[in-house]
Symmetry: C2
């Protein structure tokens, strides 16, 4: 593979000039047009692709960003990663994606790798479920950090998130608007701020309703939704919930299965609302009503914040709105 020296030789200039013509970054340096053209020509002829390794070593900028995600198998995160990828690629940065599976030890391992690769910054999704040990491990890298999802403890790092509280209130309001009184919340783990915010939004909207708020905490999975709903539906009809606000679509899908099992017709017998807007929801019967998060935009905004941080600017948290998606289940 051709090196900068090959290009310099062919263009009849020094390697410094080649570097100045071909390197996007760094302080802009004046080069005569004719010289630049010759260099570009030579680079094209030789199919020259500058080594990111050498560039990173010399410039103290690897052009690499660590992108931490709790679970790529959860359909939400590939979307976030996709949004992040797009804006990173546009800046010439590559993403090193780390799938932690919510395991602090894996996070720590990955952090070692990211340090070795000399990533320029860290973007951590699933920020709402980081435990103190994770936060400490992140801090120990001394790298710029941007979180996706507001952390439980204030860290001083910028974060981007969705207004879960407002979105949850809107969802519950919609449910109440269909005439239901007994609205139950299938919650995710309260340790996650996103889940806690959704539960708080539910509670706030239920305030003053004749039927008291009822929150069933789960781990957020489809299986948990199925089990919790099965239990709820064992109550006598007169006291049975008329609507379910699930904190995740996966919970909602599980709930739907349990409801069908006992012969209920949705939304007639039970209104159901999810959260996340998984693509699959539109193909269920009844089609799932839910709350859509701007997943790609979350990733994109996080990278933009990281870029600001790298440029030495102050960065404020970014809160994006979520959107009600009314289909058939509610």
């Amino acid at each position: 593979m051709a090196t900068i020296a090959d290009v310099a030789r062919r263009a009849g200039v020094s390697i410094a000039t080649v570097s100045r013509v071909l390197s996007p970054g760094g302080a802009p340096h004046p080069v005569k047009d004719a010289t630049a053209a010759r260099v570009r020509r030579a680079a094209t002829d030789l199919d020259y692709v500058p080594s990111a390794l050498a560039r990173g070593l010399a410039s103290h900028r690897s052009g690499l960003l660590g992108f931490v995600v709790p679970n790529l198998a959860d359909p939400h995160y590939p979307l976030v990663a996709g949004g992040a990828e797009d804006v990173a690629a546009a800046e010439g940065l590559a993403l090193l994606v780390c799938n932690t599976l919510g395991d602090s030890e894996r996070l720590a391992d990955y952090l070692r790798v990211l340090r070795a690769r000399r990533v320029d910054a860290l973007v951590v999704s699933g920020g709402s479920s980081l435990v103190p040990a994770d936060l400490a491990a992140l801090a120990a890298t001394h790298l710029p950090v941007v979180l996706i999802g507001r952390p439980a403890i204030d860290t001083g790092w910028p974060w981007v998130g969705v207004d879960n509280h407002t979105a949850a209130r809107a969802a519950v309001r919609h449910l109440l608007g269909t005439g239901r009184r007994r609205v139950v919340h299938l919650a995710g783990p309260a340790a996650q701020t996103t889940m806690a915010d959704r539960a708080a939004g539910y509670r706030a909207e239920m305030e003053g309703q004749v039927w008291p708020a009822l929150v069933v905490e789960t781990d957020g999975s489809a299986g948990a939704g199925e089990r919790a709903t099965r239990r709820l539906l064992q109550k006598p009809v007169s006291d049975r919930s008329q609507a379910l606000f699930a904190a995740t679509d996966r919970l909602a899908i599980g709930a739907l299965g349990a409801a069908i099992d006992v012969g209920l017709h949705l939304p007639r017998d039970l209104a159901l609302m999810g959260f996340d807007d998984l693509p699959i929801g539109a193909y269920l019967r009844p089609r799932l009503s839910t709350v859509a998060q701007p997943a790609r935009e979350l990733g994109a905004a996080a990278i933009r914040s990281a870029l600001e941080l790298l440029a030495g600017h102050a960065v404020e948290p970014v809160v994006l709105p979520a959107q009600l998606v009314v289909r058939e289940s509610a």
Copy 2:
């Protein structure tokens, strides 16, 4: 951040010795135990993490693997990537994940990036849907390549895949075994060898049946499954299909919706079989019968093949078995 010189100074040795103690790769070099211990101690004290950039530049081995996937939003691929990640990490290699979205231009762009990063090899999933231009672009990198999914054109590169033909036959046999005669195949794009193999397996198993094989080609999406099934179910009952073998779970989910829309009860009125075993399938009603692919194992095997290639060994294609998952829909 501490450098190799810092460690050498603290341990009272040369940087060559530090390198020899701390570097896993390369020809094993004898070092006195006491010296090695001193070096390790110094490294720990200084929280030294060798620079992968410098290491890569000096050794001509970046320790980076390009991992190409057609669509991370398809739940199949995060599993493949996860399996790949695990074995790569165990070897001290990092994955640069590239999401091409099936777009040849994006592939070409990513290939530039991967060349710049000096990846040691390429692992390309979605190999079954690569077009000649993609194959040419891959070849032009002059990098070792391993494909996941048998390519339509023989490339000489090793590949790992699933025995789709056999798995499809087993699925169709199961459907026929429930007493259905009119079994239709909802196929994916025939240009993909995986999809073509599944269709061929269906045809082979239908050979000699009273009812002739009927293949409806689609793009493999849930929406396409819904539309195709709606059309199929418009036929008079006497001539209507009694069983559907869908080439993907997404097709099956769409088909399920269309069947429910016209008031059918599954599996009584229509047996349904998917392919892929998406996690969500177990939570549908009826629970989706399907074919499970060893997704993680595909990724793991591909990395192992790439490692073999890097070690200079010859590598044969790897064909993994798929497995019938019988639940409720068939």
